[in-house]
Symmetry: C3
Subunit: 369 residues, 3 copies
């Protein structure tokens, strides 16, 4: 009897500990690689310098952005749960916080939210991924890794979307026979006596069943151009002098994305249309697509992707971008893999007067904890 | 025998783990709400613009400031313990570090200290709450939440106290038949060849027995005005042009606070006198009070608070402030509650020539981990 | 049978938990002291002011730099392991991130790397200690504590070495009959069209057997002076006006270090030569040594150290520095100790025209978690 009691005591102690510890999980991802980056600008525009720079680098976040975070789930009974995530990005090559603009930087700049979930879905408040990003990430080429070309190529013309929204409320639906969706609204909170507040509104609907995932997503970014820098992305001047202009404007993104897992290979594809205004007289429209394929070979896998973008502005300025990616991974365990990646992009702006070629090659290791 | 050994091994393993884990606890609080903020300034002073701004917001820290931290206690034997706390604030709406001046910002800007405790009390070194704050927080209206009006209203005239001191040594006494106290000294460490170092000195004594808590606290902030910004708080110019002035000065705060828990309701009350100098010729004295009541209804609770401040400067400039708060909470568990809060403050400065009205309404969730 | 099963279940549960938890360890060190700092500058150079400043301080990191971090080891099978460390420094007196230049500041500015280890050694990528630092720390006076005089005294003339390298690849060998070594290369990644990238290359070889440790280390810092501030360290102008100069230059450090533990006392000694260039015409060479001894008395220990540096530049400018340290520690547990330390340094620069005396006295507590 004594023994049983001891054993039960042991179990109780364990249960108690498990409970105490369920309140927070410390997790993260460290990704670093040795490689070479190269960038070459060729321009026939007077005053825009042609230049080429190639260098050896030890960089972080080749395959995925390095991060650390705290997260937890609390069972409130009756099928209801409280959830939170606090997640920050960092650069493993210097130890500093992430500063990539799309990541926001700051302590928990990747994600910082608290929410409640039940059978009716999840409502959450804070800084979080947009609904558009949920589909974009799920159907992006080569595992949505940083060797994907989309963030560069789709930035041709109208700048690529903001993947996170601060000051946001999100609703994510439960799964209805394969269908699910989400809506996210981010309040700009920068209203003044003379200008309205910015905002970021997005919605997504998808159907996922077995090997198939297909969905549509929309994002609308209302901006005060003078506070967010040039309306168009870098390398995409559309014949307009760089630098911010003080006016309100709107960018809209419409995305169709799909993936299918054939077992021997998984294929993904995306088609995106972006519309935007610049100043009071000029508007632009981008048409963009990408395709990707990944093939597993036991612990190894090889993936390839191709993307393209074409941007036409109402003042007859045209931009183009293309990109190719390769990524090979080898899993040492469920949490650790080696990888080698190659990424090359080419962007022609101002009716091909300026061409920017960039490439990255890397050999690295990714570790989850 | 074998079974017993296994069971004991299990217990030992648990004991070993428990010991290993007792060295640090990771904890925090995430609080976010959807609401509306409004601010209206009306002024008859030439050059001070009247303005009104109302906007929808998803903000953090409605009920309590969001935070995360590491803390631990080590038993040194003989009743002695080593303790530490490292706690930082963050904004769940953007993921960034807290920047509220009173919180100091920085990685562990809320608390960062190490100390030793025994039957004779606790001595600690680092960045920590002042002794004055210990009583202020314990007897502040509506659970010392951020919907309390005191920090705004009591900042009328002389700026409200600094709640934390860097470079500080603290002594906290044990409980003697209900009586306890603490003393904190923060060294400014900014002495130069021509100016003395700043300092923050505080002490507190309180009597807590069953439903009653009553206490007195004092804080003295010696400052070099040129290094800390305007001597008087924002919205409190006392007829003096804004901007720092290069002279040393002192602010003193004397607080009487009490709370009594009647079971059906808990009431709190505070009376504060603040004295300060501005320049070589002008001094000011503020008289301030607040009262609060909170009533539990099962898992729900409702609290209300009222505060007032009157500031008289030696140059015949007078300021006034009043504020009202309401807070309703509903506990979903011990760690998670919903809340709705309302806060409205009115501050009249420069003999009522300028009036600032501010209000916040929010509906949010607070989660502890 | 049931009981056994329960016991085994308990064991399995523990094993499962242990495994789940082995993925990340949260750890740190908090060190704070009360003390006095004093600095006196005496100069016969016109325009360089003589000054003396003494003040009471509550400072962090008297004995060791305060830090917190995440680290983990994953067993990949076949003797291979994945490892990572993310470690940041902080100031316990203010709660802010460390800003000491050698620490880099930033979230995980102390260490941020991921690597793989096997019987052939360890390869790691990220921000990490240089190989030179490994020997310097192992044989530095009075336990490599912050009361050691070397960082100040050896900065006389040529600035002391950088102890960490960003963007680095490191290889650390296994132990071969007492012999081991490491190589670290840090890529500057700041190549431009007109200047080459900086770099930090270091290697170390040591022999450790029983009470003896002896080794040699080399470090070479290739710098673009305009990006790293004045080539020579502070307090070491070598007759040249302060401020950065735009040219590439190189600093080289060669270190011999040894320690021997006699049981009743442990002695350490180091000899260092540093060579550097300033501008196109001037070069300098520093010869430096230190000795240390530490004597245990039960839970207490007393250590003393002495260091000296002599710098001679090719333009006949000579600098000199000396320093003395004392450190007493008393262990309250394996994780917590009290300490009292004293450190005094004297640096003569510009052929003794300027003399800087600095001293620190402190009484503090250090706590590991």
């Amino acid at each position: 009897m004594k023994k049983t009691l001891i054993a039960f005591a042991a179990l109780s102690a364990i249960a108690g500990m498990a409970q105490a510890q369920s309140s927070v999980t410390l997790y993260g991802l460290v990704d670093a690689y040795v490689g070479q980056t190269s960038k070459e600008v060729t321009s026939t525009i007077p005053g825009v310098a042609s230049a080429k720079l190639k260098q050896t680098a030890v960089n972080g976040s080749g395959q995925n952005n390095s991060r650390w975070g705290l997260k937890g789930t609390e069972d409130l009974g009756g099928g209801m749960k409280a959830l939170f995530v606090l997640e920050g990005g960092f650069q493993p090559d210097t130890g500093a916080n992430a500063t990539i603009s799309n990541q926001g930087g700051g302590l928990f700049g990747r994600q910082a939210w608290v929410g409640l979930s039940s059978g009716f879905g999840t409502v959450s408040l804070g800084r979080q991924y947009t609904a558009y990003d949920a589909l974009r990430g799920a159907t992006n080429m080569i595992y949505d890794s940083n060797f994907a070309t989309t963030s560069t190529v789709w930035g041709t013309g109208i700048a690529d979307y903001q993947n996170r929204a601060s000051n946001s409320v999100a609703y994510t639906s439960p799964d209805f026979a394969g269908f699910s969706g989400s809506v996210v609204y981010g309040a700009g909170e920068n209203k003044t006596a003379t200008t309205d507040a910015e905002s970021n509104t997005s919605l997504m609907i998808k159907y996922a069943n077995g090997p198939l995932l297909v969905g549509f997503a929309h994002q609308r970014e209302k901006q005060v151009a003078s506070t967010v820098g040039n309306y168009f992305g870098s390398g995409a001047t559309v014949g307009v002098a760089a630098g911010p202009v003080a006016f309100s404007s709107t960018r809209k993104y419409n995305l169709l994305g799909a993936s299918y897992d054939f077992g021997v290979a998984k294929v993904t594809g995306q088609y995106n249309e972006a519309k935007g205004e610049i100043g009071l007289t000029t508007s632009a429209k981008d048409k963009e697509f990408d395709v990707g394929v990944s093939v597993p070979f036991g612990a190894a896998a090889v993936a390839a992707g191709y993307s393209r973008s074409k941007s036409d502005a109402s003042n007859n300025t045209h931009n183009k971008g293309t990109g190719v990616s390769l990524l090979g991974t080898y899993a040492l365990s469920k949490r650790t893999n080696l990888y080698t990646g190659f990424l090359v992009t080419k962007v022609q702006s101002s009716n091909a007067a300026t061409e920017t070629k960039a490439s990255t090659f890397g050999l690295g290791v990714k570790h989850l904890f």
